[in-house]
C-alpha cells in the first residue's frame, strides 16, 4: 500500500515538473514588442535586393510623415515599391449591428482610394483587404486578446473605445501619438473634441474615433396626446434642466393610470453600462476620478438612480423583469406599438425600427418594420433629463475607434525590415477611412452620429444625399454592392434630418470610464438593478450590496473610491 502511494507521489511530482518546464519555456518566448512609432528615419544596414533599376543605394525602410496625405501616401508607396513589395495585405476586424458595415468597408474604400492614387502616380503597389466580422463587440475583443499574441489578429481593430486602455497596456495596439499630431491640423482638428478623450491613455493616442451615438429619451407622441401633453417645448425644457426625472415619473404615471399606455417607461437591459449609468451623471454624480485614476462609487447619485428604478417598478410603470426581456419579442415591439410613453434608447433605434420587423400591423396582422414617416410621426426625442432641478441633462456616447494592431502588416514580406513602413501605411489607411464622405455614409446608414464636422455638413447637403440614395458616389464596387440594400432601406430625408437634429447632443455627452476595472463594476451595477427592479432589494440595501461586492473583490476595492452617503430625507418624486 505504502509502495503504491510512493509510486503515485513520484509520478505526480514528475508530471508537475514537466508542466512547470513546459510553462517556463512557453513564457520565455520573446515577448511581443510594443511598437511605438518612430518619428525619425531608421536606416537599415541590411542589404536587400533592390528592384529599382535607377539606383544602387539601399531602398528606404521608412518615410517621414508630414501631415500632407497625398505626399505621405506616395512616399510610402514608392518606398514599398523600392523594397520589391507589389502587394500589401491587411485584415480588418470589426463588430456591430448589420447596418454598420462601413466599419469594414471604410477600410476597403480607403484602400481603393489609395490604390488609385498609387496607380495615378505610376506606383506598382496594391493594397488588398480581408475581413473578419463578429456581431458581438465584446467577443471580438476577447478574440483579439487571444489571437493578437499569436500574430493572428486583424491589422485594423474596429471596436469600442472601452478596450483601448487594456489593449494599450498590453502593447497590443499602436501608440499613434506622433502621427496624430502630424495630422492634427489637416484632419483631426475637425473631429468633435470630446471624442478624443476616449482615444487616449494618459497623454498618448491609441485610437481614432470611427463613430459615436447619443442615447435620447424617446417619447411616444400618440401616448402624450392621449394624456393631453403638449410636447412642443419639452426638448428645450429638458435642455434647460427644467423637465427632470420627477416630471418623467408624473407623466409616466398619468399615461398608465389613464390607460393610454401599458407602461410608463421602457429601458435597455443586460449591461448597466453604458446606458443606465446616465442616471448617475443626471444626478450630478461621477464615475471616475482622473487625478487619482480611480473609479468612483458616488453613493448619493447611485442611490438616487436605484431609487428611481425601484419607484418606477414598484408603481407598475416599468416592468420588474425588464432586465431579462427579449429585445426582438418584447422590448422593441412594446416601444414601436405604443405600449409605453417613454423609452431610454439609442440614436440607432431610429433606423433599427425601420429595418427590423418589430411592429405588428393592426390592419394586416403582419409583422413589419416601421415606415420612416411613422417613426417621425410617433416619436419625439430629447436628451436624458436631469435627475433634479438645478442639474443638467445628459447623454452617453460609446464611440467606436479605429485601432491599429502593433503587429500590423506582419503577414507581408520583409516585415522585420519594413515594419515601420507597414505601420505608417496602416495609419494612413485609417486617415483615409476617416474621409468625411466615408464617415457620413456610415452615419446615415447605421444611424450613428458623425465624428467630424465635415461629415455632419454632408448630412445637410441634399445633392450629396441624393447621390448616395442613387449610389452615384465614386465608391469601390465592392463597397457599393455591400451597402446598396441598406441605403435603399435607410437613406431618406427623415432619417438624415434626425441625425442632424441629434448631433447637438454630443455637447452633453459623457462616456463610461476607460478604466480596466470598470467592466467589473458595471456588472455589479447590472445585477443590482435587476434585483432592485424585481423588488428583492430596497434602494438602501442595493447600495450596501454594491459596496460589499466591491469590498469583497480586493482588486476592485483598490480601484474604486467610495464617496458620500445615502442622502437622508431625499424624496422621489
Amino acid at each position: 500500500m505504502a509502495g503504491n502511494t510512493t509510486k503515485y507521489a513520484i509520478i505526480g511530482i514528475i508530471i508537475i515538473i514537466i508542466i512547470a518546464i513546459g510553462a517556463y519555456y512557453a513564457t520565455q518566448k520573446p515577448a511581443q514588442t510594443t511598437t511605438t512609432p518612430t518619428t525619425t528615419s531608421s536606416p537599415s544596414p541590411t542589404t536587400t535586393s533592390s528592384p529599382s533599376p535607377t539606383t544602387t543605394t539601399a531602398p528606404p525602410k521608412t518615410v517621414e510623415l508630414t501631415g500632407d496625405f497625398n505626399k505621405d501616401i506616395i512616399a510610402v508607396g514608392k518606398a514599398l515599391e523600392a523594397n520589391g513589395i507589389s502587394e500589401v495585405k491587411f485584415t480588418v476586424w470589426a463588430a456591430g449591428d448589420p447596418n454598420s458595415v462601413m466599419r469594414i468597408y471604410g477600410i476597403y474604400e480607403a484602400a481603393h482610394r489609395i490604390n488609385k492614387i498609387w496607380a495615378d502616380n505610376g506606383i506598382n503597389v496594391k493594397i488588398t483587404v480581408n475581413k473578419y466580422w463578429i456581431s458581438d463587440f465584446n467577443q471580438l475583443y476577447q478574440e483579439y486578446l487571444s489571437k493578437q499574441p499569436l500574430g493572428q489578429a486583424g491589422d485594423f481593430f474596429v471596436d469600442s473605445y472601452v478596450f483601448i486602455g487594456s489593449l494599450a497596456k498590453e502593447g497590443y495596439i499602436l501608440d499613434i501619438t506622433p502621427w496624430v499630431n502630424k495630422y492634427w491640423d489637416s484632419v483631426f482638428s475637425d473631429f468633435y473634441k470630446p471624442l478624443w478623450q476616449g482615444m487616449k491613455v494618459g497623454d498618448k493616442y491609441y485610437g481614432i474615433p470611427q463613430d459615436t451615438e447619443a442615447r435620447p429619451l424617446y417619447i411616444r407622441k400618440d401616448v402624450a396626446k392621449c394624456i393631453g401633453w403638449d410636447l412642443s417645448n419639452v426638448a428645450d425644457l429638458v435642455k434647460e434642466g427644467k423637465f427632470t426625472w420627477k416630471d418623467v415619473y408624473e407623466k409616466a404615471k398619468e399615461a398608465v393610470s389613464k390607460g393610454c399606455s401599458e407602461w410608463g417607461l421602457i429601458h435597455r437591459k443586460g449591461s448597466a453600462h453604458p446606458d443606465l449609468i446616465q442616471f448617475i451623471y443626471a444626478f450630478g454624480g461621477k464615475l471616475y476620478d482622473p487625478e487619482k485614476d480611480k473609479l468612483v462609487l458616488d453613493v448619493p447619485a447611485v442611490y438616487k438612480w436605484l431609487y428611481v428604478e425601484w419607484k418606477f417598478a414598484q408603481d407598475g410603470l416599468l416592468p420588474k423583469d425588464i432586465m431579462s426581456w427579449d429585445w426582438a419579442k418584447q422590448i422593441h415591439p412594446t416601444i414601436v406599438e405604443g405600449k409605453t410613453l417613454f423609452d431610454i434608447g439609442g440614436t440607432w433605434y431610429w433606423t433599427e425600427w425601420q429595418t427590423k420587423d418589430y411592429y405588428t400591423d393592426p390592419n394586416t396582422g403582419e409583422k413589419r418594420g416601421l415606415k420612416p414617416e411613422e417613426v417621425k410621426e410617433w416619436f419625439y426625442y430629447t436628451l436624458f433629463p436631469a435627475g433634479e432641478e438645478g442639474l443638467k441633462p445628459v447623454t452617453l456616447s460609446q464611440p467606436f475607434a479605429w485601432m491599429i494592431n502593433s503587429r500590423a502588416g506582419e503577414q507581408n514580406p520583409k516585415y522585420d525590415e519594413l515594419k515601420d513602413l507597414y505601420h505608417k501605411l496602416a495609419f494612413l489607411i485609417v486617415v483615409k477611412a476617416s474621409d468625411p464622405d466615408i464617415n457620413a455614409i456610415h452615419s446615415v446608414i447605421s444611424a450613428h452620429v458623425p465624428v467630424r464636422k465635415k461629415a455632419t455638413e454632408l448630412l445637410y447637403d441634399k445633392d450629396w444625399i441624393n447621390k448616395l440614395v442613387n449610389l452615384q458616389l465614386d465608391l469601390a464596387p465592392e463597397v457599393k454592392d455591400n451597402i446598396k440594400d441598406i441605403v435603399a432601406t435607410t437613406v431618406n430625408e427623415i432619417n438624415v434630418e434626425f441625425l442632424a437634429n441629434v448631433s447637438y447632443m454630443l455637447d452633453y455627452t459623457h462616456m463610461a470610464p476607460n478604466h480596466p476595472k470598470y467592466p467589473a463594476l458595471a456588472d455589479i451595477f447590472a445585477e443590482t438593478v435587476d434585483q432592485v427592479l424585481r423588488g428583492q432589494m430596497t434602494p438602501e440595501e442595493a447600495v450596501q450590496h454594491i459596496i460589499s461586492r466591491i469590498q469583497a473583490d480586493p482588486e476592485l476595492s483598490q480601484a474604486v473610491e467610495i464617496v458620500g452617503e445615502i442622502p437622508g430625507g431625499w424624496q422621489f418624486p
Binding site: 470589426a94 475581413k131 427590423k356 432601406t489
Partner: protein, 292 residues
C-alpha cells in the same frame, strides 16, 4: 387463479407507464429541437409556443447560405467554409481518437507489461480532467510551438485543435474499446498466431473486424465531440466553425434569431443523422456486447 410471471414479459400497464415517463422526460428536449427547426422556417421565432408566431418562409436558409446575418445589411460570411472547417475538425478528432484508441485498447486488453494496471488507472484519471481546466497549459504549449509563418500557423492550428481535442476523448475511448477487445475469446487470437500470423497481423486482420461496433461507437462519439466543440475551437483555431459562428452572433440585441435558428439546425443535422443511423450500434455499445 395463479398467474405465471415471466421475467421477459412486463405488464402492459407498466410498459405504458414507462413509455409515458420516458416520453415526458424527453419532451423538453424534443420540444426545444422541434421549435428550433420550426423557427428556422419562420420569419419569427416560435419559441413562445404561440402558433401564430409561425410564419412560414425559407428565406432564413437562403440568407444563411448567402452568408448573411440579417435581412438587410450585414457583412457576408462564408458559411459553407465554416461547415467544412467544422467537418475537418470533427473528422480529424474522430480519426486520431480511433487510431490511438484501437492500438492502446488492444495493448491494454491483450498485452501484459509492467505498469499496465497503473496506466489504465492514470488514463481514467485523465478523463476526469475537464478540458477547461487544462486550457491554460494547452494554450501555452500552443503559443510556444506555433510556426511564425502565417499560413503554416493556420494549418498548424487545425492540427493542434484536432490533437488537443482528441486527447480529451482518448482516455474514455481506450476504456471503451478495451471492453470490446476483452470480449473477444483468446482462442480466436491463438488460432491465428498458431497459423503463423504476426501480432500486428492478428490485430489488424482478426481483432479489428471483431470489434467493429466498438470502433464505430468511439468514432461517432469522437466525431460528435469535435463537431460540437466550442472552447478549444474558439481558443486555438484561427478559422471559424459553425459553433463559433453561431456563438459570436447570437448574444446581441440585433441578432436575427430565425436565421440563427437555421444555422443551429444546420449545426444539429450531423448529430441527428448520426444518432438515427447508428442508434442500434450505440445500444449495442451501451449494453457492452458484441455479436458472436
Amino acid at each position: 387463479m395463479m398467474q405465471l410471471w415471466d421475467v421477459e414479459v412486463k405488464s402492459r400497464k407498466i410498459e405504458i407507464v414507462l413509455i409515458l415517463a420516458v416520453f415526458l422526460a424527453s419532451l423538453p428536449l424534443i420540444l426545444n429541437y422541434g421549435l428550433l427547426i420550426l423557427s428556422s422556417f419562420s420569419t419569427e421565432m416560435v419559441t413562445n409556443l404561440d402558433p401564430t408566431s409561425f410564419r412560414p418562409t425559407i428565406d432564413n436558409w437562403i440568407l444563411l447560405f448567402e452568408g448573411r446575418l440579417s435581412v438587410t445589411g450585414g457583412v457576408r460570411e462564408d458559411v459553407v467554409r465554416y461547415t467544412i472547417n467544422t467537418a475537418i475538425v470533427a473528422l480529424g478528432v474522430a480519426g486520431v481518437v480511433v487510431l490511438v484508441s484501437v492500438m492502446a485498447g488492444y495493448a491494454m486488453s491483450r498485452m501484459n507489461f509492467k505498469g499496465r494496471s497503473l496506466i489504465m488507472q492514470m488514463i481514467l484519471l485523465l478523463h476526469a480532467f475537464p478540458g477547461v481546466a487544462l486550457i491554460i497549459a494547452v494554450y501555452l504549449i500552443f503559443r510556444a510551438t506555433l510556426p511564425s509563418d502565417i499560413e503554416l500557423a493556420r494549418i498548424y492550428s487545425f492540427a493542434y485543435v484536432i490533437v488537443a481535442r482528441a486527447a480529451l476523448e482518448i482516455p474514455m475511448s481506450i476504456w471503451l474499446i478495451k471492453g470490446f477487445f476483452d470480449r473477444v475469446p483468446w482462442e480466436v487470437e491463438w488460432a491465428a498466431i498458431i497459423d503463423g500470423a504476426s501480432r500486428l497481423r492478428v490485430w489488424r486482420e482478426v481483432m479489428l473486424p471483431m470489434v467493429k461496433p466498438g470502433i464505430a461507437a468511439i468514432a461517432i462519439f469522437a466525431f460528435l465531440a469535435g463537431w460540437e466543440d466550442l472552447i478549444y475551437v474558439r481558443t486555438f483555431l484561427f478559422d471559424r466553425t459553425l459553433a463559433t459562428y453561431i456563438e459570436s452572433n447570437i448574444n446581441v440585441e440585433f441578432a436575427y434569431m430565425p436565421l440563427l435558428a437555421a444555422a443551429g439546425t444546420l449545426y444539429l443535422l450531423p448529430t441527428i443523422l448520426f444518432f438515427i443511423l447508428t442508434q442500434r450500434l450505440l445500444l449495442e455499445t451501451s449494453t457492452g456486447g458484441i455479436k458472436g
